[in-house]
């Protein structure tokens, strides 16, 4: 390996990018745009869902003289950011008219609190053999399970809050107010490592594939083949250049994420950038391999969907790897991007150090070495 020749290749690649405004746009603005699109669209909060509420309950006076109204209390505890409450008239409306609103699509759910709910609830607490109607009914439109799940969760929370308000703490309680990691983390914190991974993987592959197809088509690869430059030096030169580009890109992304989305980086940024550089090296090797199978840039671009889809769906960028069917999961762990996303999240959100993310780094390094060797071999083999 000759350092001067290797660095000459790196400099060539960087100069080419610098002279090409489109590349600069692709490197800097595309990932920022992606971050905003995903960050805003997937900000995680479902809001303003129409819910029909029919409260047939009436206040009830306890034997000790105090008056309670649980129905009203439950309604008061509903999250009005999540739900746009459509209050139905107990004098006119019925269970059926409430459900009909969901059927007609005017509401995503109908919440029905039965008549004498407060009375029956208190009586059944005092006397376990008492038989009354203590069931609140939630008629959901489960065509969108995400929205339905959020509504369901919120009604349960409102119910628990209402019970607590009456001085009767729930017999059991879940305390999740002290998370081990990710205190104060929002969706953007979760998303940014994924966007960084995706941006580096996609961009490095795109630049390498188009760059190497050009090398082959324009004849520069032949010219370099008849020069002292070795295949190893060439691959390493490309790797260094793209690692630098990837780290710069990641730095821009992180800066924007901190400013625009207020993400908090707990761990070492330097370690995060090491992850980015390793992924760039692996992606670059993969790009060279793919470029060998293409004769034109247009052909090369056709590979991209095959590259993007598995990485997008299986690496845990948006959906956790745990949500992927068990039989598909080995495929997830066969992708370098899965280690990247896990590693980056562990560093940025959990604040893990090198001693704990070591295995992820090792896996990425292994991918890097593997793809590097394969790329070198494929370049040597192109001398037919």
């Amino acid at each position: 390996m000759n350092a001067r020749r290797t660095l000459a290749v790196s400099r060539r690649v960087l100069r080419g990018i610098r002279h090409d405004r489109r590349s600069v746009g692709l490197i800097v603005f595309a990932p920022i745009m992606a971050m905003f699109v995903f960050g805003v669209a997937f900000s995680g909060d479902v809001t303003d869902v129409p819910v029909a509420v029919l409260n047939l309950d009436t206040p009830f006076t306890l034997p000790n003289g105090t008056t309670r109204d649980m129905g009203a209390s439950i309604v008061a505890h509903l999250d009005t950011r999540l739900m746009r409450v459509i209050t139905l008239d107990p004098a006119q409306d019925t269970n059926e008219t409430a459900a009909a609103m969901v059927e007609r699509g005017e509401a995503r759910a109908a919440l029905i609190i039965p008549a004498f709910f407060t009375r029956d609830a208190f009586r059944s607490i005092a006397d376990s053999s008492y038989e009354g109607n203590t069931s609140i009914e939630l008629r959901l439109d489960r065509s969108n399970v995400n929205v339905a799940g959020d509504l369901q969760r919120n009604v349960v929370e409102a119910l628990l809050s209402a019970i607590e308000e009456f001085g009767r703490p729930a017999p059991v309680r879940l305390d999740d107010s002290r998370p081990v990691y990710g205190e104060g983390a929002n969706f953007a914190d979760f998303l940014i490592p994924g966007v960084m991974t995706f941006a580096v993987f996609l961009l490095t592959n795109l630049l390498t594939i188009t760059g190497f197809v050009q090398e082959r088509v324009s004849g520069t690869l032949d010219r370099l083949g008849a020069s002292p430059l070795t295949e190893g030096e060439m691959v390493l030169g490309y790797s260094l250049a793209y690692s630098l580009v990837a780290v710069l890109q990641a730095a821009v992304l992180v800066t924007v994420a901190v400013v625009a989305f207020g993400i908090v980086i707990v761990g070492s940024l330097l370690l995060a950038f090491l992850f980015i550089a390793l992924l760039a090296i692996a992606s670059q090797g993969l790009g060279i391999l793919l470029s060998a199978a293409a004769r034109t840039e247009a052909q090369a671009i056709q590979f991209l969907p095959f590259l993007i889809m598995p990485v997008f769906l299986l690496s845990g960028i948006f959906w956790p790897v745990e949500a992927i069917p068990a039989w598909l999961r080995p495929l997830s762990w066969a992708l370098p991007t899965t280690y990247e996303v896990e590693g980056l999240r562990s560093v940025m959100i959990r604040g893990w150090g090198i001693e704990r993310v070591g295995p992820y780094l090792a896996a990425l390094a292994l991918f890097g070495v593997l793809f590097f060797a394969a790329a070198r071999f494929s370049l040597k083999r192109s001398r037919h």
Partner: protein, 251 residues
């Protein structure tokens, strides 16, 4: 021993080289020798095997049979490749870089000492008549200028053997003449030159020419001798005469 081999060996040598691409026999026992300090014109129609012959000797294509050497080193001639300047048929430059950036890349790759950069760059830019285009992005240059840049890039490290594959295609007659004058100058400095062209007549300035057809050498010698032997006045006619002879001769 190796050093003396390198000093006395032919600059470029093919002996009985065969190379097939599938059913196509590109080189059919081709023998070709360029001596140190010689300017050799390798002539023949498109598809006759000129480019393949060059690629085999430079190690860009593997040969099936025979011997291919550059300065005594078997193909791929890694140990002597720094002494070779190669101008491929297609311009083979980084089009998103400036002329100078291209020169700098090849200067680094061929290990040209930094102290010699300015002197060499000035020299090759003058050769290619591109003195005032140094800072221009190659993509923005005309076709002829790109070809000239390609030749300049191959000469930047002051090679002992210059291999030019169809260097004069797309270059206007005036500049073509100036190229040949420059090649003669390089030869006078003791450099070896192998040049392929299908503008057969411009090869009259070579010391020797070889006519190739279907991967075989059909005639070889100094241009004047070939003209005399075929009683023709142009190399093109001489070439046709040899081709007819080769086709008519039994065996």
């Amino acid at each position: 021993m190796v050093a003396s081999d390198e000093a006395t060996a032919p600059a470029f040598l093919l002996e009985g080289v065969e190379k097939s691409f599938g059913a196509l026999k590109a080189l059919d026992g081709l023998t070709l020798r360029v001596d140190p300090g010689e300017m050799y014109g390798f002539l023949g129609p498109n598809g006759s095997g000129k480019t393949t012959a060059i690629r085999v000797a430079l190690g860009l294509t593997r040969l099936d049979k025979g011997v291919a050497r550059v300065f005594g080193a078997d193909a791929p001639p890694r140990s002597v490749i720094h002494r070779v300047g190669f101008v491929p048929q297609e311009p083979a430059l980084y089009r998103d870089l400036t002329v100078r950036e291209n020169l700098e890349l090849f200067a680094d790759i061929f290990g040209l000492a930094r102290g010699r950069w300015e002197e060499r760059f000035a020299h090759v830019l003058e050769f290619a008549n591109l003195q005032d285009r140094e800072g221009e992005i190659v993509r923005n240059l005309s076709g002829g200028m790109v070809r000239r840049t390609s030749i300049a890039a191959a000469m930047v490290h002051d090679p002992d053997l210059l291999v030019l594959d169809e260097p004069t295609v797309g270059i206007d007659p005036e500049l073509r003449a100036s190229f040949w004058a420059h090649f003669a100058e390089l030869k006078a400095q003791g450099k070896s030159i192998l040049i392929t062209t299908h503008y057969i007549d411009e090869a009259r300035r070579c010391d020797r020419v070889g006519f190739v057809r279907a991967g075989k050498l059909v005639a070889e010698g100094p241009p004047d001798e070939l003209l005399r032997a075929t009683h023709t006045s142009s190399l093109e006619d001489a070439f046709l005469s040899y081709v007819r002879r080769a086709a008519g001769a039994p065996g």
